[in-house]
């Protein structure tokens, strides 16, 4: 019995189809959504959602953080930003990384909430570059 995976970005629905397994980049480690999984809600870090059919990875999507809602039959990914890995623009991502590092340098180093938010963003962009370069 397959599980229905939906990857939704604020602008549109990217994927809505049935797969055997989807591996999600959870904040505290990767989690696979499979049929009959216990209901679960998790925060996502920037990383790649891989859709498996049988033993083959059929599609890979990069998500820049977000939420996932897993139930026994369904897995909904609410991504802050989502693109198919094949469409990642490394140039854009690199420019973004540079802009973020600049902000990081200027930020007050005692403002912990701001720093950790920035750190998450920087990690997400690094993950995007890595995914685009095919090293993951």
């Amino acid at each position: 019995m397959p599980v229905l995976i939906e990857i939704i970005s604020p602008e549109k629905v990217l994927v809505s189809r049935e797969v055997d397994m989807a591996v999600l980049p959870g904040m505290e480690g990767d989690i696979a959504a499979m049929p009959e999984h216990a209901p679960m809600m998790l925060l996502l870090r920037g990383g790649v959602v891989a859709l498996h059919e049988g033993d083959v990875v059929t599609d890979r999507f990069f998500v820049a953080g977000g939420f996932a809602d897993i139930t026994a039959t369904r897995c909904t990914v609410l991504a802050d930003k989502a693109v198919p890995v094949s469409e990642i623009s490394i140039d854009n991502a690199t420019a973004q990384l540079e802009a973020l590092s600049e902000i990081w340098d200027k930020t007050d180093k005692t403002d912990m909430t701001r720093l950790s938010a920035l750190q998450d963003q920087i990690l997400a962009v690094r993950a995007e570059i890595a995914a685009g370069a095919g090293t993951v």
Binding site: E6, I8, S9, P10, E11, K12, V13, G26, M27, E28, I31, A38, P39, M40, M41, L42, L43, F67, D69, T76, L78, D80
Partner: protein
């Protein structure tokens, strides 16, 4: 009576006005279709978010330290109003409807002794409120409407509002915008964003034990703290998309009317023109004939 030359010039100018209004109508219709499509595409995200939020809010109920976006600051003194309008005019009563509702709300809140702050979105709102309420404006966003709206506009706006709430500068935040019904009708509405109004879930919708079964990673409070600002942004985004669709719908209707009115005045002016021309010919004939008879 106007001379033939003047009439010809007027007819000519109204004809070119009609060309412009009908072109604007076509453009608005095309943009409306695109705006409606993107509003449609944004709906699943909002729906999924509402579902998750409902489950989460149930899970953290009764616990302390609920984020301010959900519970409010516990006071009801400072209201932030966010009127959403277009950047350009020529769309009928679209913008003035929002202005009117906002002004009514400001007056009502002020008469209740509350402080009002404004965050106008769109050049029309900024210009309008700068005139009478310039001291209430805390910030503004312009240059949004008319194009594809990127989500970053909504997230920027959401972050601004979130910062104001967290620092305790405002207690309540509401959007004022035109709800899109169809191209002919947009209803100005006010929607409260902070504190969040949860739709009451019927007891039959979610069995009580399904909430308890959920596992959360890292934990409920952390997810909720991330989800609430995001939900704020999504609601703003939805309102921005409705405004974009409404603006184009209103412009389409207004320009359709203008085109029709132009056609009507061309018809009546042409009639006057022909009648004047005929009178002139008749007059000239009478003059020639009476001249010939006099000889």
């Amino acid at each position: 009576m106007a001379s033939l030359k003047e009439l010809r010039a007027r007819i000519g100018s109204i004809k070119s006005t009609r060309k412009i209004t009908s072109a604007m109508k076509m453009v608005a219709a095309a943009k409306l279709r695109r705006a409606q499509a993107s509003a449609e595409a944004a709906r699943p995200y909002a729906a999924a978010m509402r579902r998750m939020l409902g489950e989460l809010a149930g899970a953290v109920q009764g616990e302390g330290g609920v984020p301010r976006l959900l519970s409010g600051t516990g006071q009801d003194k400072v209201h932030l109003l966010v009127p959403l309008t277009s950047d350009r005019g020529l769309c009928g009563g679209f913008n003035s409807n929002v202005h009117r509702l906002t002004v009514q709300t400001i007056r009502r809140l002020q008469s209740e002794g509350k402080t009002v702050r404004l965050l106008p979105v769109g050049r029309r709102a900024l210009n309008f409120f700068s005139r009478d309420y310039a001291d209430l404006i805390v910030d503004h966003v312009i240059g949004v409407s008319g194009k594809e709206i990127p989500f970053s506009v909504a997230s920027g706006l959401g972050e601004k509002i979130n910062a104001l709430v967290e620092s305790g500068e405002i207690d309540v935040c509401s959007l004022v915008f035109n709800k899109f019904h169809n191209a002919m009708m947009q209803v100005p509405t006010s929607q409260q964003l902070v504190p969040l109004l949860m739709e009451e879930q019927g007891a039959g919708d979610v069995p009580a034990d399904s909430v308890a079964q959920y596992e959360f990673e890292p934990d409920e409070a952390t997810i909720l703290a991330m989800l609430l600002p995001r939900n704020l942004q999504v609601q703003i985004y939805a309102a921005l998309l409705e405004t974009a669709a409404g603006e184009n719908g209103a412009r389409m209707t207004a320009m359709d009317n203008a085109t029709r009115n132009a056609g009507r005045s061309i018809d009546s002016l042409t009639q006057v023109y022909n009648r004047t021309r005929q009178t002139n010919i008749t007059n000239e004939l009478i003059e020639i004939i009476s001249g010939a008879q006099a000889v």
